[in-house]
Every structure is written in C-alpha cells, then in structure tokens.
Amino acid sequence: MTIQAASDALVSLNGVNKHYGQLHVLKDINLQVKKGEVVVVIGPSGSGKSTLCRAINRLETIDTGEISIDGKKLPEEGKELALLRADVGMVFQSFNLFAHKTILENVTLGPIKVKKLDKATADKDAMALLERVGVGQQAPKMPAQLSGGQQQRVAIARALAMKPKVMLFDEPTSALDPEMINEVLDVMVQLAKEGMTMIVVTHEMGFARKAADRVVFMADGQIVEDAKPEEFFTNPQSNRAKDFLSKLLTH
C-alpha cells in the first residue's frame, strides 16, 4: 500500500492486532476504504469479521496497530471518541433500538443530545429519514411493536440521522426472518447507490454481488482475499475461499 493510497482513505486500518486471551482474533489487519466505497466483509463464523467491524468505532479495543477515520487517529475513551463515533454510523445484528423510547425518539436522540439540534428540526429530519426507509407510519410506536425488518430499518435511520461519514453494518440481516431480509437489503442497496461509504459484514452474497465495490474475505483472523465481487465469486485465489464458496453453493 503506497502512502498516496493510504492518505486518501476514509477508513484506514494498519497492522491491527487483537487477542481474546490466547485467541488471536485479528492478525495484522491492513484495510483501506475510500470515500464512497462499499466493502463487504465475508467469511466463516469466528473469522474475526464482526470484531473487525466493531473495532472501527472502538466498541472493541485493539492491542496493536492503528485505525484512523478521515485522517484522524481513533482517540482513547472520552469526549473525543464520542465525537468521532458520531461520524461513524453503526447498525447491529440485534437492532438495539432504545426499548423505552418511541421510534421517532430513537432517531432524534443523537441529533438533539450530540449535535444539539432543536427538537423541531430534529423531528423533521427524523420523519424524512423514516419515510425514506419506509417506516414513517410507525413513528409514534414503541420498538417492540415493530417487526424485525422494520426495527432494523429504523436502526439504519437512527444511524443516518447523525449524518455519518461512513456506515458500519454488523450482520444486519442475520437476526431476521427470510421474508424481511430483502426490505432491509433494499434500503442498503439504495444507500450504496447514493454514494454512502459502507463496510458491511454479512452472509448475503446477493448483496455482495449487487452493491459491493470490493469483497474482503476473512478466515482465522486474517484478510485472505480482497477483490472485486465478480473476480472473487468466479475466480477465488485461495483454497480457504474456494472451500467457503463451495459450501455455500451446495445448498
């Protein structure tokens, strides 16, 4: 990786290592994501892809190496880290909508408390976002009253409300019933088309083919392949990736 390429990266991981006790979950990870790029991270369970995703906004700490976002090194805990996290949207596998707040309040909490927007503006922006992901009708309801697919779309709206520079998706469809997966993927494809920088950990190969600029294949804590989707799916270089893909195709 040349210095030139590293400097125009929006998200940049250099020599990142992490252990859970004896287990080496991230092994010398180097990854650069440019503005507007959609990178899909795939790999078998336990390959470290979720940990990688969560390390980018420091929900997981790392042992060595460096992570920077838009040229700024990820700060230690504290006010600065909170500010940086506001620039990084995150969507979780289990939605994690605030259970005691309405759908609308879920989306406006960040803009009001972190961005200090007045309530009227925040409400207006939030309603526009909820309409955009197709759940405007649900605004006054509580999260538990919505289906999983609707909750996940609200979670995307909540992240977008902070106007993030990059969006992280940590297996956003893995907890969903099959018929709800598409309504979430559609929103993500739309987002990708609009030029959002995205890092998506997923098992949805369809999404990877359709929306990804690059596919990163991880196994045993390492990045094994980093290629364009059609290149990766039609002509994987490593045995590990060939093995993984063959297992997907047998069903």
Binding site: N57, L59, E77, G78, K79, A82, L83, L84, R85, A86, D87, V88, G89, M90, F92, S94, N96, L97, F98, A99, H100, L109, G110, K113, V114, M142, A144, Q145, A155, R158, A159, A161, M162
Partner: protein, 215 residues
C-alpha cells in the same frame, strides 16, 4: 376510636414527623443510591471498590446502630451541629441508599449490553449513555424491589423514636403517659401504617403499568 380522637394531636404530630422523615430520607436515598449503583458498574476500579465498601459496611450494620451513631456519636465529633430530626434523616438516608443501590444495580444488569453499545455508537458520552438510556430502563425493571425498599423505609422511621424524634413510633409511649390503653394505641398506629403502605402499593401498581418496557 376514643383513643384516636382524644389524642389526635399526638397522632397527627407523630405521623407528620414520620412522613417528613420518609419523604426526605426517601429522596436522598434515591439520589445517593443511584449514584452509588452507577459507581458500582463504573469502569474505574477505585470507584467500584469505594461503592462496594460503602454498601457492605452500612448495609451490614443494624439500623439502630446507624441511628445511634448520628444521635450520640456524631455530636462528639465536633462538626456542624444538627438536631435529632436531621440526624435521623441522614441516618435513614445513608442506610436506605445501600438498598436502593443494590436494587438499581440489579436493574442495570437487566438492560442488554447492546443498548449501551447503540448509545455509544451514536456518539453519546458515558454519563449520557447512563442517564438517557441505561438508568431509565433500569428503574422501570426494578419498581417492585424498589418499593419494597421504600416500604421498609417507611416502617424504619419508627426506629428513630429510640432517640427522641417524636414520630409515629413514639405515639405509644406518649399515650401511656396520658393513661390511655397501650394496646389500643398500638393497634391504631399499626392500622395507619397499613393504610400508608397500601397507598405506596397503589402508586407502585400505577408505575408498573405506565412504565412497562416491552422487549
């Protein structure tokens, strides 16, 4: 009934003091207990240790000893002078706060870790994650044990009678001085306590209904 009506002055002063003690000690215990609970889950080891020490020392001390310390021991320390009523409020607050803290802590433990992660991910700092996301859900989860703590506090106010605070628990001895039958006096005091606790339970049911968190 005559015992109650002929000595209504005693009953009114007694229960007024009980309610004043309950009200102030309740509020202070709620605030202090919540702070101590958050210290117990704080990422800083020294804070956790301090909170744990406070809870273990005060909660394991009989209430009578805590109150006697403030009535008899505290004045000897030569600090700011306080009257018995204030001393009783402080003692009851410090004692009850330990129970509040443990109730709140168990509530914090019921809130899924993903809630805090989501709050941090939208850029909320630690204190706001706690006050806007974690604690509101924690309180909703612990209304029943919390009200048990407050019902205990209401009844514990009678212990303050032991050192010259004329609250409800002191009514009986004052009645015997007036030559009233002790049994009748005791029964009336008990009945009024039952009524007060009944009101608390009613508030508890209302709150439980209003604050039900569906997951």
């Amino acid at each position: 009934m005559n015992t109650l009506l002929n000595n209504s002055d005693l009953f009114i002063t007694g229960f007024r003091n009980t309610l004043i003690l309950f009200f102030f000690a309740g509020i202070f215990a709620l605030i202090l207990g919540t702070i101590v609970a958050t210290l117990r889950v704080s990422p800083i080891p020294a804070m956790r240790a301090a909170a744990t020490l406070y809870i273990n020392v005060v909660r394991n001390t009989p209430l009578t000893l805590v109150l006697f310390f403030f009535a008899l021991g505290y004045p000897k320390l030569g600090l700011v002078e306080i009257d018995f009523m204030t001393a009783a409020t402080v003692g009851l607050s410090l004692y009850t706060a330990t129970y509040v803290a443990e109730a709140v802590r168990s509530g914090i433990n019921t809130v899924p870790v993903g809630q805090a992660e989501a709050a941090r991910a939208i850029g909320l700092p630690f204190t706001q994650t706690l006050t806007l996301v974690i604690l509101p859900q924690a309180f909703r989860a612990v209304i029943p044990p919390m009200f048990s703590v407050f019902i205990a506090l209401l009844k514990n106010t009678t212990v303050a009678a032991g050192f010259s605070v004329a609250e409800a628990g002191a009514i009986r001895s004052n009645l015997s001085e007036r030559g009233e039958p002790a049994m009748a006096g005791l029964l009336w005091v008990a009945l009024i306590f039952v009524l007060l606790v009944f009101i608390l339970s009613f508030v508890q049911r209302k709150l439980e209904k209003k604050w039900k968190v569906a997951r």
